[in-house]
């Protein structure tokens, strides 16, 4: 059992997750939304590592590595879409995407 209580790790992860969620909801700039998504994924990683270290199992770190690959792929696709969006609409404002013409 580690010195750090699991409850405190989970509280820390929840605070980070809520910060990222607020960022996704509040910001209009798509790049900031992607960054907030990174913060959220990171918070999930904190929760997994904390649980893994509380029970002294390596499964938590395995899940963290999978989240890492997910975050890398998500950022690659998201940024490519952002480049395409900047080319078409001339801005990164998410509200410009509210009219989709099939």
């Amino acid at each position: 059992m580690t010195a750090i209580p699991l409850e405190h790790v989970l509280i820390f992860a929840s605070i980070l997750f809520v910060i990222g969620f607020v960022g996704v909801i509040v910001r209009k700039n798509t790049l900031f939304m992607l960054m907030s998504l990174e913060v959220m994924l990171n918070a999930v990683g904190v929760a997994f590592i904390g649980a893994g270290s509380a029970w002294q199992q390596a499964d938590g770190q395995v899940m963290f590595i999978l989240i890492l690959t997910l975050a890398a792929a998500e950022v690659a696709v998201g940024l490519a879409l952002l480049i395409q969006m900047h080319r078409r609409f001339g801005s990164l404002n998410i509200d410009k995407l509210n009219k989709m013409r099939g």
């Binding site: 010195a3 405190h8 913060v39 990683g45």
Partner: protein, 171 residues
């Protein structure tokens, strides 16, 4: 001095940096704070007995993913003159925040590595890279294969979507 105190310090730094990530207006400043936030979370991982995950956090998150963000920010500015959009603020104000938090993290890490009592306390319950590797290529082998498919799909999608119009970069 115990491990918990340092964990709370690093956690507070991570929370402050994350709040700054979502509240600043300049993209590059937000990226600086994002790097600091990821480094603070890496210190938390180290203190939780996962040094391998801490290294991965620094190399993959703070290294690769943030560099990808910086490249994208550079591509957004290619069409226009970036100096027109740059803020006119001069002085220490811009980089003082990230530098202070990052220096605090560095001092904390050096203190922990030097302190033999803390090291003894930390080394009791480390889940090291060997256990992770055995698990990753044993029961979780299918998940690793699926993750490699995901990375390949991300590579292809990124390549296709970021191409210019004339070269077939249609969505």
């Amino acid at each position: 001095m115990n491990v918990e105190l340092f964990f709370y310090l690093a956690a507070a730094m991570a929370i402050i940096a994350s709040i700054k990530v979502i509240s600043t207006h300049n993209t590059v400043h937000a990226l600086l704070y994002l790097v600091v936030s990821l480094l603070a979370v890496a210190v938390c991982f180290y203190l939780m007995g996962a040094p391998f995950a801490a290294g991965l956090e620094v190399t993959v998150y703070a290294g690769a993913i943030v560099v990808l963000f910086v490249f994208a920010v550079m591509m957004f500015g290619l069409g226009s003159d970036e100096t027109l959009n740059a803020p006119q603020v001069r002085g220490l104000g811009i980089w003082a925040g990230p530098v202070v938090i990052a220096t605090g993290l560095l001092i904390e890490l050096i203190y922990i590595i030097n302190h033999s009592g803390l090291q003894k306390q930390l080394s009791i319950d480390v889940v090291d890279a060997k256990q992770v590797g055995i698990l990753l290529y044993g029961p979780y082998l299918l998940a690793v294969e699926i993750a490699s498919f995901l990375l390949l799909a991300g590579l292809l999608a990124g390549y296709h979507y970021a191409k210019p119009e004339g070269q077939g970069g249609q969505i």
